[in-house]
């Protein structure tokens, strides 16, 4: 799998961020494993410690296995003003996990993130690539139930 992804990009260091994204996105558990890092290091001819440096600098990458769906709730001031704290509390209850944790069934990982740039519809969260705005506790419940039902 790593070979297939890496070979799409020229073996130059500036492609590192792209490669990491693609490897993480295609992994069912949305993370970058040690083997992946080793493979990339070899492919780009750079040190693994450089990759870890980059990997841990950017918040979107994870070195730990995560759920099938990544929920990223915006914790920036415009969303906070519009009540994102209540949404977070609701998500804790609905999912039964704390921030940063994955549900037991491996369906969801709950994360907080900086501004998603949809502040006109605050509070906002992203689940994978989809943005959900104007959140209320009821709407959050609907969304989570719907995704759970997709299994």
């Amino acid at each position: 799998m790593y070979q297939e992804i890496c070979s799409k990009y020229a073996p130059t260091k500036d492609n590192l961020i792209y490669i990491l994204h693609e490897i993480q996105d295609t992994h069912p558990q949305h993370y970058i494993s040690e083997e992946a890092v080793d493979y990339i290091a070899q492919y780009l001819n750079i040190h693994a410690n450089h990759i870890y440096g980059v990997l841990t600098f950017y918040t979107m990458y994870s070195t730990k296995p995560r759920g099938k769906n990544i929920i990223r709730l915006c914790e920036s001031p415009p969303c906070y003003i519009k009540g994102s704290e209540n949404i977070l509390r609701k998500l804790h209850i609905l999912l039964g996990v704390e921030t940063g944790e994955t549900t037991k069934d491996g369906e969801f990982t709950l994360e907080l993130c900086a501004c998603l740039g949809v502040c006109g519809n605050a509070p906002v969260m992203m689940i994978n690539d989809d943005v959900y705005g104007d959140l209320t506790e009821e709407r959050v419940e609907e969304i989570i139930t719907k995704i759970r039902g997709r299994k």
Binding site: K13, I17, V54, Y58, I81, C115, V118, N121, D129
Partner: protein
């Protein structure tokens, strides 16, 4: 494309998409299919129309009728009533304050004071269609520039227009261009900074999503002026739609010969590529952004050397913000004089602002520079939500500062805002009502900056954390005399000593709230009271004995069983155990429970006793 009877423009900017506009679009396709109307009605997916609060919104031409808050259930009615019978659906139209219906988009108050330059096509054309961009005059400016102008003439026009960077700094665009133009190098780079991270700003996202070709055209004009043949668009990974649209636009431009070799038959060759971030606010800083493109950690580096001298891979590089680029094609089409005729003496043209917070019309607006905050917030923004009063506005995101009612009549331009302690920043306008606690808001911004500090330089890494801890102490009721002076001293130190713009500006929210709301800080520290009852340790709940009917509902709903009493004696909250969840207040059927500002005397006494005990142990 054949001409059709009706054009239906559906806003598919991220705001409206998050409110469900894609489902509405699908439903329209489905209903029109069923009714065999597809040959008569054109469905166009546009970029952001601006009024996110009304979303999902749509405009129907030829009349230009504006519908707001449309749902999937409304689609059938729009098709039968409006499209088939020619009777627009009144209940989906906007109503003004006097409940008068406003059918046409051009009459909607939100648009009245706006002048759209960068956002000219946003919400009006299909961003995925190069033809539509060309039909609105797209690539005309590039053609004129490449076939009739010399690079220095191009820079001269930008100089005459007075265009300054829209990303935050407000640095004159022509100076950056001239520096790179004058540099001698085998390769020069042009970078479009689409790493919009300021909480409360979303103009770059909307532009990239809503009018991607405009950004490419702006880039190519700049690249020609400075002699760059390669460009990068660095876009946040949080903006997948913007990335998709810009990639699509690059492919279309290539196919049409508008990008690549010998563009417009000239000697000018240019190619652009998208690079994405991976979640780091600091990458909006130009040196950090360059490191990120190179595949490194996005740590900023000291300037000088400026990117114009040694930028991407050590080559002369210009980094321009998305909105800055969005202005360029129009400046060449309509003339530098036209652009410079708008705005103030030092801030020319228009600026896009993102209105958020407790304001009625949240969304994206473009207004001439020099407009007053009052016009921006009350006329364009429609004033405050509900019957609350305006308290403060945070301009320029976490790097900016807050302004108050006394500043409502100051003109919005780079210099005036700076003088008053705020900044233009990228144009985020976070409006706050009189329910907000400014100490808490400052703490919140500081929390953001602590999270986003890259950690390279100690003033930012350690100083911001210290600032945050002091604020946390104050909002927890543990503030002490001297805290305010310490906040100012530390804030000024971080401002002077930090390496990059993030650290230099991060203390601004604290310093500006201290400047205008010092009394709130003092009340938190001395009186242990949060007047707006936002900081939980500095407020308490109280049951009014004379109103309480002794129903025991509050006691039963209390998660920590800190309420006791009886029907006869009524109920009391044991303040030392209360966690301030507010359940009791919510369930009380007779509204006998109130929030009261200030720490309860019992809690104060307890804290003093605790402290004494600790001291005697020592």
């Amino acid at each position: 494309m054949s001409l059709k009877r009706i054009d239906l423009l559906i806003c598919c900017g991220s705001g409206c998409v998050s409110a469900g506009s894609l489902k509405i679009k699908e439903k329209f396709h489905e209903v029109l299919d069923q009714k065999g109307l597809t040959s008569e009605i054109n469905i166009i997916e546009t970029g952001c129309m601006g009024p996110c609060d009304y979303g999902p919104v749509m405009v129907i031409y030829p009349e230009g009728i504006f519908y707001k808050k449309v749902t999937v259930e409304d689609v059938e009615e729009i098709v039968t009533e409006h499209f088939e019978k020619g009777r627009p659906v009144k209940r989906l139209m906007l109503q003004d304050m006097d409940e008068k219906t406003i059918p046409a988009q051009k009459d909607v108050p939100f648009y009245q004071k706006q002048i759209k330059v960068a956002l000219e096509n946003c919400g009006y054309i299909d961003p995925e269609s190069l033809d539509e961009y060309i039909a609105t005059g797209g690539y005309e400016a590039l053609g004129t520039v490449l076939t009739t102008m010399k690079p220095l003439d191009v820079i001269e026009i930008i100089k005459n227009s007075g265009l300054r960077g829209r990303g935050g700094g407000g640095f004159p665009t022509h100076i950056k261009w001239k520096m790179v133009h004058d540099a001698v190098a085998d390769q020069k780079y042009y970078i479009c900074n689409g790493d919009e991270g300021d909480p409360g700003a979303f103009m770059d996202r909307s532009l990239l999503e809503g009018d991607p070709h405009r950004i490419l055209e702006g880039m190519m004009i700049g690249a020609y002026a400075m002699g760059a043949s390669r460009g990068y668009l660095y876009i946040r990974a949080e903006y997948p739609l913007a990335i998709k649209r810009i990639k699509m636009a690059i492919a279309q431009a290539h196919e049409m010969g508008l990008m690549g070799e010998n563009i417009f038959g000239s000697d000018f060759c240019f190619d652009a590529e998208v690079r994405t971030g991976a979640g780091a606010f600091v990458c909006g800083e130009e040196t950090a952004l360059i490191h990120s493109i190179e595949g490194n950690r996005g740590n900023p580096s000291p300037k000088p050397p400026y990117p114009a001298v040694s930028g991407l891979w050590g080559k002369p590089t210009v980094v321009n913000n998305v909105e800055t680029l969005g202005n360029i094609p129009t400046i060449f089409r309509k003339g530098a004089e036209w652009f410079a005729s708008m705005g103030t003496a030092t801030s020319k043209g228009t600026k896009v602002f993102a209105l958020t917070g407790d304001i009625r019309n949240t969304g994206l607006v473009e207004v001439p520079m020099g407009i007053t905050l009052r016009e921006l917030i009350f006329d364009v923004g429609g004033g405050m939500v509900g019957d609350r009063n305006f308290k403060a506005v945070q301009l320029g995101g976490p790097s900016g500062g807050c302004l108050t009612t006394e500043h409502l009549d100051v003109p919005v331009d780079y210099e005036t805002l700076k003088e008053k302690g705020a900044m233009m920043g990228s144009g985020g306008v976070i409006v706050m009502n009189d329910q907000k606690c400014m100490v808490n808001v400052a703490k919140f911004f500081m929390d953001f900056c602590v999270d986003e500090s890259c950690g390279k330089c100690s003033p930012c890494r350690i100083g911001l954390k210290q600032l945050y801890e002091i604020l946390e102490r104050i909002t927890n009721g543990e503030g002490k005399e001297g805290d305010i002076d310490e906040l100012i001293r530390l804030g000024e130190a971080v401002n002077k000593l930090s390496l990059c713009g993030l650290g230099q500006t991060a203390p601004n929210p604290v310093l500006s709230t201290l400047r205008y709301f010092r009394n709130e800080y003092e009340a938190h520290i001395r009186d242990k009271a949060c007047a707006n009852k936002v900081c939980l340790p500095l407020m308490h709940f109280n049951i009014h004995k004379d109103k309480c009917i002794g129903c025991s509902l509050c006691a039963r709903k209390c998660p920590v069983t800190c309420i006791s009493g009886s029907r006869e004696e009524k109920y009391t909250i044991h303040q030392l155990d209360c966690i301030k969840c507010g359940n009791c207040m919510e369930v009380c059927p007779v509204k006998a429970i109130d929030k009261i500002a200030g720490m309860h005397p019992e809690v104060v006494a307890h804290k003093i006793a605790e402290k004494k005990a600790l001291e005697s142990e020592d």
